[in-house]
């Protein structure tokens, strides 16, 4: 895709993930479930991933570093699921 379209879409994704992170933060305040903090952080990381892709000039090598942020995002989700299940096991309800 053209640089124009790419930058536009990455900008849109940066904003979309940022909004999602804020929404998860709000719902964490309402429900107090720690899993939602993990999701908020994960989407903040994904937002950062798209931000870096949008700002860093297309040099294939440096692009890959943004993907470590993406990995961090998904790792946070997995960590949140792990944490949730560990908490659940301790409280038999």
């Amino acid at each position: 895709m053209t640089t124009h379209t790419a930058t536009f879409l990455w900008g849109a994704l940066t904003m979309a993930c940022g909004v999602t992170a804020l929404l998860f933060l709000r719902f964490w305040r309402l429900s107090r479930d720690r899993l939602l903090i993990y999701f908020a952080a994960a989407f903040a990381a994904l937002s950062l991933n798209w931000l870096l892709l949008g700002l860093i000039d297309p040099g294939e090598e440096s692009r890959h570093y943004a993907y470590f942020i993406r990995l961090l995002g998904f790792a946070l989700i997995l960590a949140g699921i792990f944490d949730k299940n560990r908490r659940q096991a301790r409280v038999p309800r």
Partner: protein, 134 residues
């Protein structure tokens, strides 16, 4: 002002008005075993509602299923001495300041419906019988 112990109890195991009345009823005669239909008659509840309320209180470790009776019966059996003390406190509080308790429970109920969808989202990630992901 409701004590923190009562607040905790009302937010977890005694979440609705039927549960509160059932618990207070069973506490009044702790030696007696009640069947679901007896509770339903005493409190003027539907028998299904009485049964599910009793089961919820069993899950919350405030009642025990009495296996000695022929039909399923329930008996007041707080899980710990702390719980027993809080229930007694609740009894006093219900006599002294019932409106406070009702107000607190209503606020809880409203908060609970507001977070229903989010709790469903979070609870979806509870793995079936496993404790770890991957």
């Amino acid at each position: 002002m409701i004590s923190p112990g009562i607040q905790r109890l009302l937010s977890t195991s005694v979440a609705n008005h039927e549960a509160l009345q059932t618990l207070l009823l069973m506490r009044r005669e702790p030696e007696r075993s009640w069947r679901a239909d007896e509770v339903a008659t005493a409190l003027n509840l539907g028998s299904d509602l009485a049964r599910s309320t009793l089961q919820a209180l069993v899950d919350g470790q405030l009642l025990r299923v009495d296996t000695s009776a022929a039909a399923t019966a329930y008996r007041y059996a707080p899980g710990s001495s702390v719980d027993a003390a809080v229930v007694d406190e609740l009894r006093q509080a219900w006599l002294a300041q019932p409106l406070e308790i009702i107000r607190f429970m209503n606020a809880n109920a409203i908060a609970r419906t507001r977070t229903e969808a989010i709790r469903a989202f979070a609870d979806a990630f509870i793995l079936p019988r496993g404790r770890r992901d991957d």
